[in-house]
Amino acid sequence: MDGEELTQQETELYDRQIRVWGVDAQRRLSKANVLVCGMTGTVAEFCKNIVLAGVGSVTLVDDGVVTEAALSANFLIPPDESVSKGRTLAELCCDSLVEFNSMVRVSVEKGDISSFGEDFFSKFDVVVISSCSLATKKLINEKCRRLLRRVAFYTVDCRDSCGEIFVDLQNYKYTKKKVDEAVEFELKYPSFEEAITTPWKRLPRRMARLYFAMRVIEKFEEAEGRKPGETSILDFPGVMKKRQELCEEESFNESQIPDYLLERLVVGTREFPPVCAVIGGILGQEVIKAISGKGDPLKNFFFFDAFDGKGIIEDISNPDAAS
């Protein structure tokens, strides 16, 4: 790097993690700017992790107000109404996060993320969005991809006791030490749109079912004009119908997307705090990897289901798509 040394304060505070990822990685972290949209419990966990790790700045976007649901899994929101009244989720989370690490700049950006221009996104090294519609996910991902500088893009969503992370690092080069020499690796990531339009038949047989189930829910919510997570058991027949439609289109066996899994996702719209911790932890680790250039980043989906306890990586990219 450029030979800048960490301050004594940084060396002391970050001592234990520098022992894990080294001084260079710590320096890169301290210069990284992260944008976060959608202050869910999972995102709160993620923010805590990267603020503690010592990124340069974190910008929060979420104009929502405190609801019981928002409060249930998010430890950054004070439960006291006199404190939270008239303030947005992003503002409340920001107040809590600044206390975690005085060396990280935490701020709030107001507005609708889908209306932000490319210029806005170009200020960041990492963009993480949560609880956004399918259209918004695609839109932000495309905006990030059109920028000259590479912006690492992530989506994260938790429903019931399941979680999903999507990663787009575009063309990502990193080096790894193999025995004594440094070997260069290059990974080509598909966009969100490219990934989810990969024909299901072409995907490996042993794919995490959560992937398909999440796509069914996503399509259902889009078709019905729902906000993410705006479903209940009453929607279950509709979701089953959506599954049938999609499976027909994809010539895919419906039994690969079990009823019980869909039902959990439709009903359990509330986040499950232990899963928030797990998914927020994995996402934190991935963002730290991408910023520091240390370690193999995951490509390009991660799934966790507390039901079986597996945390699985799936590479979902269309081999035919021009990258």
Binding site: E5, T11, E12, L13, Y14, D15, R16, Q17, I18, R19, V20, W21, E45, K48, N49, L52, A53, G54, E68, S72, F75, L76, I77, P78, P79, F100, S102, S161, R206, E230, S232, P258, D259, Y260, E263, R264, T269, R270, F272, P273, P274, V275, A277, V278, G281, I282, G284, Q285, G295, L298, F302, A306, F307, D308, G309, K310, G311, I312, I313, E314
Partner: protein, 650 residues
């Protein structure tokens, strides 16, 4: 979108957390968010600056305060209506007895050392309370579930013993940097600045002339001796003369490369300090804790590897500062990783010794990690592990034994998995902790004292806290507050006796009973007399079998610190591994010996009363589901048609 109330199992639960450190902070937060209403938390530690990068409930202003208490206050800020009871105390305190443990539905460990883990394991077994155990190091972590009679206990599988080194590797034939650190810290530092009454192997070398009378003089500062002269004399003695003496023993170097004696005049100009240094540059403040040889020499970067000359300057400067600025402490100092000057001294001494032996030098940062047994730690792994602990705890509360898992958090995916669940194993029938299997001990009953037996076996190996030793009905030893004075005298006398000369002589064939009243653990040890022991391979001079701890693992990465670095005899590292959660079993690439043990599901006749949170929700769905239907992704067993894995939802 109506909100589901917390599961009834959680609502009625009273849980005990042991440890409020890296995992503990995350765990307390996740328990509180998940709706646990009554949480007790024990931690004896106070908050340090280096905790703040991951123990997110703590702030700068809390440094020095009780972790358990501050953690409670922090969590009550976002969950004011739950009950959190903190104990700023050692979990090994007698107050935390079996009755105390019995009040909890489940015990959750976020501990940092083997000793306390074993202690809690025993209390959980005695109280018959389920235990969820955890550990992390760097990006690796694991969570395991221990339920008496159902799954293996924490001690069913031997744990890697703390690495120790033979005395002569440290005193004469170091081959790794860690050997130089142990020498610098446990021998040289202790000799110069520690308790003079302590035995010290610094000058002990096989078949050599230097008598102890002579060496005592060497380390003593002579009357009116100039401090730099004294420093140079020590330098020349330990890095020059002692190496020459060692070289004289040709036998030692037949298959080893010979070390090079180093004298201060060859490395540094004469009268160094008078030329450029000045003693006052370090004394911007009179606070002894801020005295630093690096500062007074104008060196800033702890990541830099110093040259031999720089190390030599630091060595002399640090020694000078100890005798100049911290004179009062000399004679009763012990190494502390947070003592900057001590770390500087040890780093430089280890590096000079390393130069002598052709071992690569290390930075102060790295040396500090090795000397202080600092475990690598990041917030993310702790958060993930805490989430997994809560998931297991909920299953335990729901008595959903079939879905218990031990989960590994991996750095590199294995079979596409970063989080890998494995079915728990049944108890090990030969585990002396949970199955009362007798142990056997080979020992020289004419030479070993009861004290050695207590220290090396009862405490170090069996991990007992308040032991009681019986031979038949004769009490040989006992610890406790309420003992009669004559008994205390009696036991003290017994400690110094060799086994065969005890009031009730212990000889070959004797069966000793060792009991810990607090842990409610009893072990029978059959004694076998043996005359000779290999000093290198059996440094304890006694061998315990029937339960075999795994050989100490030498970690690949030099940076990675061994726990409890130390050698036998006098070079014992009494320092506790610090505030991190060390991992006992590091699953680099786990292979589960499927045939060797039966899995829980095969022995469990629990008929699916387990409904996990998700299952409970799905219950109204009247279809039989095969929940583990992609189970073959997990390689815990070769079997693909194990019917016990299939589970009905209703």
């Amino acid at each position: 979108m109506d909100s589901p109330p917390p599961l009834s199992a959680i609502k009625d639960a009273k849980v005990l957390m042991v440890g409020a450190g890296g995992i503990g902070c995350e765990l307390l937060k996740t328990l509180a968010l998940s709706g646990f209403p009554d949480i007790h938390i024990i931690d004896m530690d106070t908050i340090e600056v280096s905790n703040l990068n991951r123990q997110f409930l703590f702030r700068q202003k809390h440094v020095g305060q009780s972790k358990a208490k501050v953690a409670r206050e922090a969590v009550l800020r976002f969950r004011p209506n739950i009950s959190i009871t903190p104990y700023h105390a050692n979990v090994k305190d007698p107050d935390f007895n079996v009755d105390f443990f019995k009040q909890f539905s489940v015990v959750l460990n976020g501990l940092d050392n083997l000793d306390a883990r074993r202690h809690v394991n025993r209390l959980c077994l005695a109280a018959d309370v389920p235990l969820v155990e955890s550990g992390t190091t760097g990006f690796l972590g694991q969570v395991t579930v221990h339920l008496k009679g159902k799954t293996e206990c924490y001690e069913c599988q031997p744990k890697p013993a703390p690495k120790s080194y033979p005395v002569c590797t440290i005193t004469s034939t170091p081959s790794k940097f860690v050997h130089c650190i142990v020498w610098a810290k446990d021998l040289l530092f202790a000799k110069l600045f520690g308790d003079k009454a302590q035995d010290n192997d610094l000058n002990v070398r096989s078949g050599n002339a230097s008598t102890s009378d002579h060496t005592e003089d060497v380390f003593e500062r002579r009357k009116d001796e100039d401090i730099e002269e004294y420093g140079r004399r020590i330098y020349d003695h330990v890095f020059g003369y002692n190496i020459e003496v060692a070289l004289a023993n040709e036998e030692t170097w037949k298959n080893r490369s010979k070390p090079r004696p180093i004298y201060s005049k060859d490395v540094l100009p004469e009268r160094l300090i008078k030329q450029n240094g000045n003693m006052d540059s370090a004394s911007a403040t009179d606070n002894p804790s801020s005295v630093s040889a690096m500062a007074s020499l104008g060196m800033k970067n702890p990541q830099e590897i110093w040259s031999l000359m720089e190390n030599s300057k630091i060595f002399l400067e640090a020694l000078k500062l100890f005798f100049g600025k911290r004179k009062k402490e000399v004679g009763n100092l012990s190494f502390d990783k947070d003592d900057q000057l001590a770390v500087e001294f040890v780093t430089s001494a280890a590096n000079i010794r390393a130069s002598s032996f052709g071992i690569p030098l290390h930075s102060l940062f790295e040396s500090k990690g090795i000397a202080g047994n600092i475990v690598h730690a990041v917030a993310t792994t702790n958060a993930i592990i805490a989430g997994l602990i809560v998931i297991e705890a909920i299953k335990v509360l729901q008595k959903d034994a079939r879905s218990y898992r031990m989960t590994y958090c991996l750095e590199h995916p294995s079979k596409k998995m970063l989080l890998m669940p494995v079915e728990p194993y049944e108890p090990n029938k030969s585990c002396y902790v949970c199955s009362e299997t007798p142990l056997s001990l080979e020992i020289n009953t004419h030479r070993s004292t009861l004290r050695e037996f207590v220290d090396k076996i009862v405490k170090a190996k069996l991990g007992m806290n308040l032991p009681l030793i019986m031979h038949g009905s004769a009490l040989l030893y006992e610890v406790g507050d309420d003992l009669e004075e004559d008994m205390v005298t009696n036991y003290a006398a017994n400690l110094e006796k060799v086994l065969s000369e005890l009031p009730s002589p212990v000889t070959s064939g004797t069966l000793l009973t060792v009991e810990d009243l607090q842990q409610e653990l009893t072990c029978n040890i059959s004694i076998k007399h043996r005359e000779e022991f290999d000093e290198e391979k059996e440094p304890d001079g006694m061998v315990l079998s029937g339960w075999t701890p795994a050989p100490a693992v030498e970690k690949k990465d030099e940076n990675h610190v061994d726990n409890g670095v130390g050698t036998s005899k006098n070079i014992t590292n009494a320092e506790q591994v610090e505030t991190n959660e060390d991992l006992e079993i590091v699953p680099a690439d786990i292979e589960i010996p499927a045939e060797k043990k039966r899995k829980l599901s095969e022995i469990s006749n629990n008929d699916g009363l387990g409904t996990s949170r998700v299952a409970a929700k799905t219950n109204n769905h009247s279809k039989v589901q095969d929940l583990d239907d992609d189970d073959d992704v997990v390689f815990i067993s070769g079997g693909d048609s194990d019917p016990s894995k299939k589970r009905k939802l209703h």
